[in-house]
Amino acid sequence: MVTSMLRKSLSYIPMGEKTIIIKFEDILSPKVNKCVRSLSQIITERNIEGIERLIPAFNSLAVCYNPIIIKFNKLVEQLKELEDSINDERDIKGNKIFIPVVFGGDYGPDLEEVAERTNLSSRDVVGIIQSKPYLVYMVGFIAGFPYCGDLDERLILPRRSNPRIKIPKGSIAIANEQIGLYTISSPGGWHIVGWSPMETFNPHHEPPSIINAGDNVQLVQINSEEADSWNEQRQREWDLKWNSQR
């Protein structure tokens, strides 16, 4: 069961007249994030008329609804009744996804700077990054960017003071306690440490993203020759070897 402290910290705040933000404890924690996903699943199962979609974030859940079907107060009342069922022990199956990454050089132009600023060798930085799987707290930004954590505290750096205008699709980047993958080329202020040839987001696929909130991502180092010659065949072999349980 969920601790009473956590339940007390739940608040229901309107974000305009079509969305309610259910805010959990104001901390970044896998436990809180699990409670968010637990509540999301409970609300889905309850099938409340008027709710259009649920969008989990780090420590909050957005409930998008049609106010012509159900009004704010009425919906909050119904949502509050579900609080007691939140369970951070509940088995919410996330996938484990292995992502091939080539680190440093042109693929990860900020790797050396990260090493310098953290007083580690580039090799150590790479070792630390791939030493454990990361929880996908949420997906967002503009096209399925997975916000993953928690990064080893030795690697924590603030965002770059001067964001890049274009970060290539596939870039693996870190900022604060998070690590993420740029799913489309876009501007960004994170430190780029590597690049993955694996396509995790394709707007023409259904669903578009293979990485979802609640999944775990494990980065696996490959060399630049492997990365440059990556193709569908290699991806199939990779998935067979690493991602076959998906």
């Binding site: 305009g16 974030a57 909050s60 012509i68 930004f141 993203s209």
Partner: protein
């Protein structure tokens, strides 16, 4: 809102050719909101009210794909007979050089040329074609997302020489030709009025003076404004503590305030997550009015309660369904 999911039967038809594209002309419908859960921008028309009304005028489903033109409209040649309607901000529109009204469906024939002149107020026009623009659905929508290079016409803004294909119209298009709305049903973009907002989710992270400042001052729409968002300039809003939060879901209409105290209004192409405090959200019925603002325009805000915002939305949707009924009353072909 209901989005058209069904693929139309029959072959697509080349209906119009772009001679000049204008500043930014894109294919838009009501967006891909149901994909926000995948972290995907909603996109869709900025002024959804004008978009829906344009579709209703030509007998389409209100969520069919149309052209959204910005500040300078396109020059279009029609390749065969059909019906079109233009809505949105106040543009001077011409068919073969002769002025034609907005907010009225027009019969066009092969060789006709549609041109736009200056925009008097507002900045976006919607051009609907009976039958709807036929481009492939991407993640449940025909809306263009230029940053992602997907959706709409090859994931980009239209350019000279592009051929627009349309689907079959639900009704005999000649029957909808000449249809117009009562003047009271046409949105008023000209009369200056405050943009209404619902406070929150993080209004308690601002000082009381900041909320007072927000509702008692003008804010200017800066040049740094586009379909993703409007950066406003005016008296800065003070945070109690800090401007950063753990990232949360955001949606079009959200007014974020970073540490410099200058509000950013998120619009159709906004991302789905944000890490700055949100002082309030523009109510749905006022977002179309906001969408017609352009750099240099001024904005005033007024706070209302969530219940009132919901009543206003119900009222608007009631009116729209009445206008839609005129379509349903027509015999389908």
């Amino acid at each position: 809102m209901e989005r058209t999911k069904t693929k139309r039967v029959g072959s697509e038809m080349e209906f119009a050719k772009i001679e000049k594209a204008g500043v930014l002309t894109t294919v838009q419908d009501l967006g891909r909101h149901s994909y926000q859960v995948f972290g995907v921008s909603a996109c869709g028309g900025m002024d959804t009210l004008a978009l829906r009304l344009a579709n209703i005028l030509v007998g389409n489903n209100e969520g069919d794909a149309v052209l959204e033109a910005t500040i300078i409209g396109p020059h279009i040649t029609f390749l065969r007979e059909g019906v079109i309607a233009i809505t949105g901000g106040s543009f001077s529109v011409y068919l073969n050089g002769k002025p034609v009204p907005m907010w009225k469906s027009l019969l066009v024939t092969e060789g006709d040329e549609l041109t736009f002149d200056s925009c008097k107020y507002g900045c976006r026009a919607y051009i609907a074609f009976a039958g709807g623009i036929d481009v492939p659905m991407v993640m449940g929508s025909r809306s263009t997302f230029i940053r992602g290079n997907y959706g709409g016409f090859e994931g980009r803004a239209l350019k000279k020489g592009d051929l627009i294909q349309i689907g079959h119209s639900r009704f005999d298009y000649r029957r909808v030709s000449g249809r117009k709305f009562k003047s009271g049903d046409v949105p008023d973009y000209k009369t200056a009025r405050p943009v209404r907002i619902v406070l929150g989710p993080h209004n308690n992270k601002f000082t009381n003076e900041a909320i007072q400042t927000l509702v008692s001052n003008h804010y200017n729409v800066s040049n740094n404004s586009d379909r993703m968002g409007y950066r406003l300039e005016g008296k800065p809003l003070q945070h109690v503590n800090k401007a950063d939060i753990i990232s949360e879901f955001i949606t079009p209409g959200v007014i974020q305030v970073p540490a410099n105290g200058q509000p950013i209004v998120h619009m159709s192409d906004a991302g789905t997550s944000g890490g700055y405090t949100v002082v309030g959200v523009i109510i749905s019925v006022d977002l179309p009015y906001m969408a017609q603002k352009k750099p240099g325009d001024q904005i005033e805000f007024e706070v209302i309660g969530v219940e009132e915002a919901q009543k206003l939305l119900s009222k608007q949707e009631q009116l729209l369904s009445e206008l839609q009924l005129a379509n349903l009353a027509m015999p389908s072909r």
